[in-house]
Subunit: 180 residues, 2 copies
Amino acid sequence: MKFCSNCGSSNVRFEVPPGDNRPRHVCADCNTIHYINPRIVTGTLPVWDDQVLLCLRAIHPRKGYWTLPAGFLENGETIAAGAARETEEEANARVSDLQLYTVFSLPHISQAYMFFRARLSDLDFSSGTESLDVRLFREHEIPWDELAFPVIRESLEFYFEDRQSDDYPVRSRELVFDRR
Amino acid sequence: MKFCSNCGSSNVRFEVPPGDNRPRHVCADCNTIHYINPRIVTGTLPVWDDQVLLCLRAIHPRKGYWTLPAGFLENGETIAAGAARETEEEANARVSDLQLYTVFSLPHISQAYMFFRARLSDLDFSSGTESLDVRLFREHEIPWDELAFPVIRESLEFYFEDRQSDDYPVRSRELVFDRR
């Protein structure tokens, strides 16, 4: 933060405010404390019979790798509504019966990922602007070596494991990576 | 947002950026798009034998009402670590064995609440700066009419219900209130 978004001053310091215990961007002129907090990425694991829908990323990072449809939760949205919206945007697909399934903490990038199992409503899907391709995969067809992110791999692994017992408890995981 | 935090310009407009579908704060001078996203509130439901720890709020909103220890997740933190930190800050209490338990969407205030069941490590707790009192309550002692927020009531109701079967599935709920 180079300038205070409240008063426009360039006199913004990164320091521990009184009564706090960690540094924040603090405006030395108007005293506004600017908090920055982790963001939520919400998505779906869309299912059609024994198949799962994946999207081939058209954008960085991990362009050209397969992902579950997901993106940043927006203000005013429920987490499930955000997951359905991202599925519509990235795969032009409609889903129903969303059930929270995986929750990931990714502290190194200050994000929380949440995926919902969902029923694909119909086969009328196609690539959204952020996707190069959208396809259904059976378990043995999953491109395990071409998945975009660890959260995608883990969610799919949990799903195919749980599908054997038809019991899908919510899975909460921490994925801590060293950024170096 | 009155001023662009990147260039200091006051020429910030609230408009839909190209390729987007909802209004953002966009700087007309340096073209920076400023995104604002929901925040995560993380906390614990600390258990000691058949008792649950609650904190009496010393701060607004809902000052003088009972709550579970919780607060905003910080950058660089896992969701569980944030819950344990808030428990330490508000109740000077240490917890272990955190298990994700309730997940709430509160779109009207753009927050997601997440509570972890946790084992209270010892009885050496006391009021932190944001609490007027910290106490253990048995089920019949819970001050149901003096709880701070619906997410507190629901988490406690789920807990005492699930305790009968000693089975605690993750509960995901949407609490949509009209702000008018």
